[in-house]
Symmetry: D2
Amino acid sequence: MKRKVCVVVTARPSYSRIKTALRAIQAHPDLELQLVVGASALLDRYGTAVDFLERDGFHIDARVYSVLEGESPTNMAKTTGLGLLELSTVFHNLQPDMVVTVADRYETLATAVAGAYMNIPVAHIQGGEVTGSIDEKVRHAVTKLSDLHLVSNDLAAERVIKMGEDPQEVFVTGCPSIDIARETAASPDLDFDPIGRYGGVGSEPNLSGGYLVVMQHPVTTEFSEARIQVIETLEAIHASGIPTLWFWPNVDAGSDGTSKGIRAFREQRNSAPLHFFKNMAPSDFLRLLINSKGIVGNSSVGIRECSFLGVPTVNIGSRQSGRQRGPNVIDVDHDRHHIEAAIVQMTRQDRPNSSTLYGDGYAGERIAKIMAGWTLRNEKKLTY
Amino acid sequence: MKRKVCVVVTARPSYSRIKTALRAIQAHPDLELQLVVGASALLDRYGTAVDFLERDGFHIDARVYSVLEGESPTNMAKTTGLGLLELSTVFHNLQPDMVVTVADRYETLATAVAGAYMNIPVAHIQGGEVTGSIDEKVRHAVTKLSDLHLVSNDLAAERVIKMGEDPQEVFVTGCPSIDIARETAASPDLDFDPIGRYGGVGSEPNLSGGYLVVMQHPVTTEFSEARIQVIETLEAIHASGIPTLWFWPNVDAGSDGTSKGIRAFREQRNSAPLHFFKNMAPSDFLRLLINSKGIVGNSSVGIRECSFLGVPTVNIGSRQSGRQRGPNVIDVDHDRHHIEAAIVQMTRQDRPNSSTLYGDGYAGERIAKIMAGWTLRNEKKLTY
Amino acid sequence: MKRKVCVVVTARPSYSRIKTALRAIQAHPDLELQLVVGASALLDRYGTAVDFLERDGFHIDARVYSVLEGESPTNMAKTTGLGLLELSTVFHNLQPDMVVTVADRYETLATAVAGAYMNIPVAHIQGGEVTGSIDEKVRHAVTKLSDLHLVSNDLAAERVIKMGEDPQEVFVTGCPSIDIARETAASPDLDFDPIGRYGGVGSEPNLSGGYLVVMQHPVTTEFSEARIQVIETLEAIHASGIPTLWFWPNVDAGSDGTSKGIRAFREQRNSAPLHFFKNMAPSDFLRLLINSKGIVGNSSVGIRECSFLGVPTVNIGSRQSGRQRGPNVIDVDHDRHHIEAAIVQMTRQDRPNSSTLYGDGYAGERIAKIMAGWTLRNEKKLTY
Amino acid sequence: MKRKVCVVVTARPSYSRIKTALRAIQAHPDLELQLVVGASALLDRYGTAVDFLERDGFHIDARVYSVLEGESPTNMAKTTGLGLLELSTVFHNLQPDMVVTVADRYETLATAVAGAYMNIPVAHIQGGEVTGSIDEKVRHAVTKLSDLHLVSNDLAAERVIKMGEDPQEVFVTGCPSIDIARETAASPDLDFDPIGRYGGVGSEPNLSGGYLVVMQHPVTTEFSEARIQVIETLEAIHASGIPTLWFWPNVDAGSDGTSKGIRAFREQRNSAPLHFFKNMAPSDFLRLLINSKGIVGNSSVGIRECSFLGVPTVNIGSRQSGRQRGPNVIDVDHDRHHIEAAIVQMTRQDRPNSSTLYGDGYAGERIAKIMAGWTLRNEKKLTY
């Protein structure tokens, strides 16, 4: 009898952080993959991640609609509550041997709570890291609800163990997102036309002389400032004069502020060499990064994948604070002049070296192997 | 402007662990108490705790119905999800400056999640302890979602800090349940007739020659064994021949198993000197304990209040494992002969000394004072 | 491609009213049965109907837990809301061509709303009848949300049409519960020992000299009177001196009042020749009725199945008011003396004739045939 | 003691249909207004109706977030389920003497169900009308759950009575939306600059030579066609060459299709004399209509308010089919040429006469008076 491993994917970025593990679980002779897709991964506004999952050949066992409209802290709580109601039904029907929750987005807590309460062993990918905002609370709460910890690097493992987890249940696998980066870096040429393939809106800048990629998410506990923050970045990009491909933010309280800032800017300066995308297949996106002058914003991609790929990053504000950095990162605050100066610096200096800080590119297979061999448990105690 | 402190009480035992703090918050000139009652604290089957709250003069700001019928691990998850949906509405309406969650029952996680996601500072009473079963995961997950930690003793404080919490946000206050024990111990005479005042069912044993108190809860992760476990205790009590006052278990997956065991026993041996209660005012319950030969079962009362009161305890099974013990506790497993032997030992040996392991009896006032002076925060990071 | 017919069973009595239709749908070459079991049909306290479904060889496609504990009008609304949340996920996954909702219990409205809103044609079994209490509002609201009406008799059809439904979509099939009655009446001997097979509690009366069957449900809009009402019946039964088999009430606001009344009576008069059951296989229950002196209470069984079976009925109070009666029914109010007098009258008079008022015993097959041939539609307008 | 009347407003158009009744309830000496705002009335994307309510001086007693993102039939069901969960808590806390539900939007069913199940008398405004799509099922289901019917005209009253409602509980009051129309028509000059006051996007056409108003909602059961349908209208408007003020659709399954159609058109033809608004204060909107050449689309405003105001209407498609029309309406299907021809006809013919088909402009006061004098009841039966 195969061990049933139920993975819950709730957002576009989570898919990149689990994709190669999904593939390896599916391929493993002793494992059966159960795939649940929910929350913003089902929503068109954020680039329907579920479509990429299906295009990549994964069968979806259940879809869970749970995102309340009107992005606010109250609705983040409600979305998680609704996810918990729905996931418990799904787990009751699928009867998995273990459930897997990915990283630290607010709605992922629902997977961990449902698993823990239903006496199903919970595996957590990417515990032990440190960042800003609500993610920080979510990530460590998920660690305390989880039974198996599959982390990105030694420092993360050390932190999970310090929090009182049994060292025997903590494994350094690297992050699966680096696996995709490794595979993509093997054939790095930009072999497609981004606008031709993905549409989007805005002007259609000439990319042949180099371009920037921007991805800036709202920071939930600074809800009201989201709009101001994105305007600082827009102005800095505009001042740099470099053609830019911009990706819309994901679903979080405050993203309406960010969206409004972008819309207002577009109305005023519709001639700027800026093009906006909702989403892109992960490997296309990475290829875009590899061929860019660098990434600007506050996405974890700039810290994680780009450290492996050696792509320069201008990281803005507090969202990634606490996360370990490779040599590719320049940190700045939400100030248009500081951002512009960092862009200039980034485009002038030498290409940074590749780093294996977040993995060596073989995490997916390691994770599947550990899941197959791990002694299932759903009880634990603090080690001190 | 008074600081609004919103306390969520979700179960009968939680009320004992917060009552003196509620009183002190209400009395504090800089604090305004907001009281939310939910989950099993509203249910008749478990002795409607909300009635005691109102009788004690507290005003209830909101009632939250969330317990799904059909006690099972799946429904524990659903109850928590429903609680999260409802509490987020309640917090949205009450706009508290901080929310308070008590101890480690599964449904208390909803309070912590709603608070954390809504950017409201969360205070946790009784973190840092160690026990068995799902409570263990819940308690530490709540710690990771909380901003202020009000713990029972030094060891608990040390554990919370080891988990990566800022030592400046961790306060040893003692447990408010010990405050009631201290107050009750000041006038220890059994000045009421338990059956006369509280009804209940079963025979009406003569208590003048001494009696036992029993409180045995199902252990959730041993769901199917709940019935067998309670029968072992019933048989041991029956064999001891000592008159016994038995309290029904609280609402948890498995309590139907416990209830059935008790019902079946009653049908067969309805002449045994056993009387069953649903609930009792906390001070009456403590007075009953003080005048008893000891308590049998797996309630935390035997570990906590009874250590202060010097009441002997026969603690059965894994439910309290990991919790620090005073000199009053004899531990046994779920075996009728071992339980009976422990009862005999307990009734023969000298009365144990009082211990301040879980507090000196002045926790409530300390908690209110800390809440009034604490610098509100809702962001934090691991200290390592 | 077979037409997928999704039937939602939410309670013990609903199963009897759909069982032969389930069988006929399953057997029909052009139909595929999808079976969803939810609400009180999953709960042990009311005699887990789902077990009978499985024992009868039906495969359950999804289980939906939705009943909130603490029976009250507020929780009836919440249970329906939760059912609506859950059923919409289930329908989204099962993709039925039509959904079927049975009769008029409060939680059945969730099936009709989910179907109507999701553009799935809704078939309603047993519309057009008239009763008291909330069922009355539910039944007709379900009619207005439904596209296909399968009713018990001509008067019901006439009422559905008067409400503005298209006469072409209204079919008189009879009630499937009568099918079981017809089948059972073909071999009417009481060939089993009720207490031996079904356990239950109470004394074990000698049934050889004749016995009564009682089934009394609380009437939701008279919540507080449920306890008083059941006591009147208990006293009347006791005064009659006839051995009695009593069935516990179903889950509705007020049933705790009924349960309490029964428990209190049992404590005082535990020698009365009364035995209590939770549930019984429908055919065993009918055989019990056929061999009884009659049924007492307010169950629709007394009005419907017993009219076909020619079993005398003492029908108490308002719960069945408005429903058409065969010659077997004596109506009384909630007065112990009136009830006792009616019992005496019922046991003395001749056995009533069989009536086909609620069907001729071939409803299930008719229903399946109509479902297979019906032109699917999910839009309609008032006919006037 | 004042009678507590709890009105639930869930959408922008519902507010217009209840505003003068809210005012009259507030002013009535024997009534106390309790106001609950929920669903899309709280959402920015649809023009936050709640802001208009507050600006008009109403106090909001509770806010209920319930709209799931990702507009689809499944989520319409979920939104209603969530609304039911939340409203039952709100009603439990507010303890109203009656609840009021307005018209026929899908989420309004939650108010009627919660009221009916909680034994609170339900008053329904605007029953007995006939339209297309899911509204038709919702409206009549609400009638069957309601105890008091306050309808727009004699034909509506007749239909409600035919459906089996007691004629004594049915009152012809007219529609409160006509009250605002009457008040506005008393000072009809366009005394504000629409774009100056309300912003919006698009070109800024010169309105002095006359203009059209467009409001076109998606029709839920034709989900996939929403985009095509809106394009037909856009092309017809464009061909007419008349300056146009366009209002975004409300929240329904399919509105994303409509929105996309509009966005795509704007990208291609951004020079067309089209301006887009989200929302407008009702009286400003009516003044805009009075001074326009006519309204185009499928909003009920064209049928109802415009019949009183004598504003010509080109009504497109099935959404208003079944609704009674005054002399101001030209009906066309979703064909750009037919729409364009109807626009030409409308702008050439004489101004239609005012009609009192939907009220004489004094509905609000009538409603409050009836509510104050009505004998509360929550039980009823079919009259046949």
